[in-house]
Symmetry: none
Subunit: 195 residues, 4 copies
Amino acid sequence: MLKKNGADKRIQILDALNTCLQNKPFDQTSIKEIAQAAGVNHGLLHYYFKSKEDILIQYIDYVIDHYTSMVQERFNDKALETIDKRKLVKEFFKFIHDRITLDRSLSMVFIEIWEIAVYNPAVKAKLQRAYQEWMDVLSDMLKPLCNDIDVSRRTSFAAVAFLEGMALFSIILDPDSKEFKKILSDFQSKMIDML
Amino acid sequence: MLKKNGADKRIQILDALNTCLQNKPFDQTSIKEIAQAAGVNHGLLHYYFKSKEDILIQYIDYVIDHYTSMVQERFNDKALETIDKRKLVKEFFKFIHDRITLDRSLSMVFIEIWEIAVYNPAVKAKLQRAYQEWMDVLSDMLKPLCNDIDVSRRTSFAAVAFLEGMALFSIILDPDSKEFKKILSDFQSKMIDML
Amino acid sequence: MLKKNGADKRIQILDALNTCLQNKPFDQTSIKEIAQAAGVNHGLLHYYFKSKEDILIQYIDYVIDHYTSMVQERFNDKALETIDKRKLVKEFFKFIHDRITLDRSLSMVFIEIWEIAVYNPAVKAKLQRAYQEWMDVLSDMLKPLCNDIDVSRRTSFAAVAFLEGMALFSIILDPDSKEFKKILSDFQSKMIDML
Amino acid sequence: MLKKNGADKRIQILDALNTCLQNKPFDQTSIKEIAQAAGVNHGLLHYYFKSKEDILIQYIDYVIDHYTSMVQERFNDKALETIDKRKLVKEFFKFIHDRITLDRSLSMVFIEIWEIAVYNPAVKAKLQRAYQEWMDVLSDMLKPLCNDIDVSRRTSFAAVAFLEGMALFSIILDPDSKEFKKILSDFQSKMIDML
DNA sequence: CATGAATGAGTTTTCATTCAT
DNA sequence: GATGAATGAAAACTCATTCAT
C-alpha cells in the first residue's frame, strides 16, 4: 500500500524539519520549505500541526524521546544486573560517544534545542527531564564502583557535562580527529580510575 | 559630554542588542526593538551597520573580544612567569567560573553564538580562534605541572569542554546550587591532582 | 427513523447556520464550523450546496419563507373576512411584536440579511418581495378602517418601517424593558386612531 | 506643499475604506484593496493602524463622530432657545431626511455598522451613545410642545426608530420616489400634531 | 547625523473546494 | 452518501531596508 496514514505523515514532516535544520536554524526555515522537504503541500502542515511552533515542539519531543528510549533500551535494568560493572560503564560511554557525542548532525540539532530552551520554559523543562534521566542511568552504573551515591551522582553529572561540551566542540572542530577521540577515551578511563 | 561620537553609539547599539538577547533570540528581535533599547532611531542602525546581520556579526566580535581580552589581561606572560603554578591554575579556574561559567546571561548569549556558528562559517571560525586561545592559555599553565605538552593540551581541551558543558547546564539547572558549585570545584582539584 | 433523507439534512445544515449566526457573522463562520454545528462532515456541505455562498442564499430563502408563510397562515383571506377589523389589526401587531420585532436572535439574523442585500441584488430582490407582501397584508387590513387605499398603503409602509427600526434598536437596547414595550403599544393604538 | 501629514494620511485611508464599503462589506474588503483605494502602499496601513479591525473601529468612530457633530452644530443650545419650536422640529426632520435618511450610501455604511455592532460590544456601545444623543436632541425640542418629558422621550425614540426603518428601506426601495418622500413628510406632520 | 514615512518582499495562517476511498 | 486528506489561492501582518527632509 502506498497510502500513508496520519501518523506516518506527521513523522514524515518531522523528518523533513530534521533535514531542514541541517541547513538553517528553525527561525529561518519557512513552513513552505519544511513542506517542500517533506514533499507535501504547505497547507497540510497546518492540518497536522496547529502552528509552526507546534511543529517545533513536537519535533523536539520526537528527538528527545528517540534518544531517551535508545539509551533506555540499551541500558535497562536487565543490563544493569547481569554484566561486569566496569565493562558496562565502558560500553555506556562507547554508546554515547558513537551515537551522540560524535554525531555532528545531532549536535547541530541539539544546539538548536538548547537555544530554544533558553527562552522557552516548556522546552527547558523537557531538556531538564531528559538530561536528568541520562545522568540517573549513568549514576546507577557508577554507584557499585564507588559505593557512594553522592559521588556517583556528581561524577555522572560531570561526565555528562563534559560530553555535552565535547559535542559542542564537535561543531567547530573535527570530531573524527585523533586528538578529539583520544581526549574522549582518556577522560573515560581516568573517570573510572578515579572512582 | 552629552553628544556621543560614532564609536560610542555603535557600542551603545551593540549593548542594546545584548540587552535584547536576554529576552528573545536574535531572529525574533526586530531592528526597531534594538533601536528602542539603544534609545536611538531605528533608521540610524543602518547608518552604523550595513544590515541586521552585520549588527549580529559585530556583536559577536564584540562579545568574544571582550572575553578574550579579559582572559589575556588577567593571565598575560607576566603572570605566567611570576606566580606559583598550582595557585595560578586555581586562580584561572576561579576566574573562569565566576566570570564565565556561572554567568547565566552570558551563557544565554553564548548558546545563541554557538547556534549561529553552526550555520555561519565566519562565526564558526571566530569561535574556533577564541576557544583555541583559551585552551592555549590554560595549556601554558598546565605544562610546568606535567612536563608533557600533549598531556597539557589535551587536559586543557577537556577542561574547557567540561566548563562549556557546565555553562550549558547553567541554563537549565541552578548554577548557584551547592551541588553545581561542588562539581565545579571537585573537577578542578582532581584535574590538578591528575597531572 | 434514524436515517435522515436529503431534504432533512439540508434543513439540518441551514439550522446549523442559524445557530452559528448567533455567534459570528457569516463571513467569519467557516464551512467546518457550520458542519460541526450540524453534526455532519464538512465535505458533505458541498454535496448539498454548491458553494459556501449557496448555503447563505438558501438560508436566506429559508428564513424569509418561514416568516412569510407564518404571516400568511395566520392572516389569510379567511381571517380577513371573518373578524372585527380593529381587533384583527391589533392581533396582527401583537403577532409581529412577539414573533418578530422582539425576537432578538431573529433581529440579529435580519441585520445580517440586510447587510448582504446591500451588495447582493438577488437577496435585495428577495427582501423587496417579502416586505412588499407584509405591507400588502397589513394594507388589506387597514383599508376597511380608512376607506382609502393610498392612505392604507402608506400607513402600512410607515408601520413596517417603524417596526423594522424598533427591531434594529432591539439589538442595542433592551427590548424587554417597559419603555421599549410601551413605545410599541403606543404606536399601535395611535396608528389605529389616526386612520 | 504636496506632503500630507500623519493625520491627513489616516483620514485618507478612512475615506478609502468608505469608498470600498460602497462595493463590498468590510469582511470581504482586503487591506490591499483599501490601500489601493487610498493610493498608498498596503504596508502603510499597518503603520497607521495596528490591525485591520483597528481601521474599522477608527472608521466607525469617524463616521459616527461626523454625524454626531453635524447634528450638534446645527441644533446646539443656541438654536433651541431662539426659534419657533414647531419650525425647529420641522427643520430637524428636514435635516435628518436630507442628510441621513435619504443618503443611500450612508445607509449602506450604517447597516454595516449595525451588523458589526451585533457581535462587537464596543461598537454596540458606540451606537447606543450616538442614538441616545440624537434622541436627546430631538426630545429637548419636543418637550416644549407637549410639556411631558416622558411623552417627548418616547416620541423621539419612536421617531428615530421610524427614520432608521426608512433608512433601511432606502436600501431596497427608491428613496427618491414620491411615495417614499410622502411617507416621510406625512409622518412628520402627524407626529407634531399628535403631541 | 537623525527622523520617520514609505516600500515590498516574505511569512504564517485560514479555508473553500476537490476528490479518492 | 460520507469521510477526511490534500490543494492552492488569498489573507493579514511583519519587518528590513531605503530615502527625502
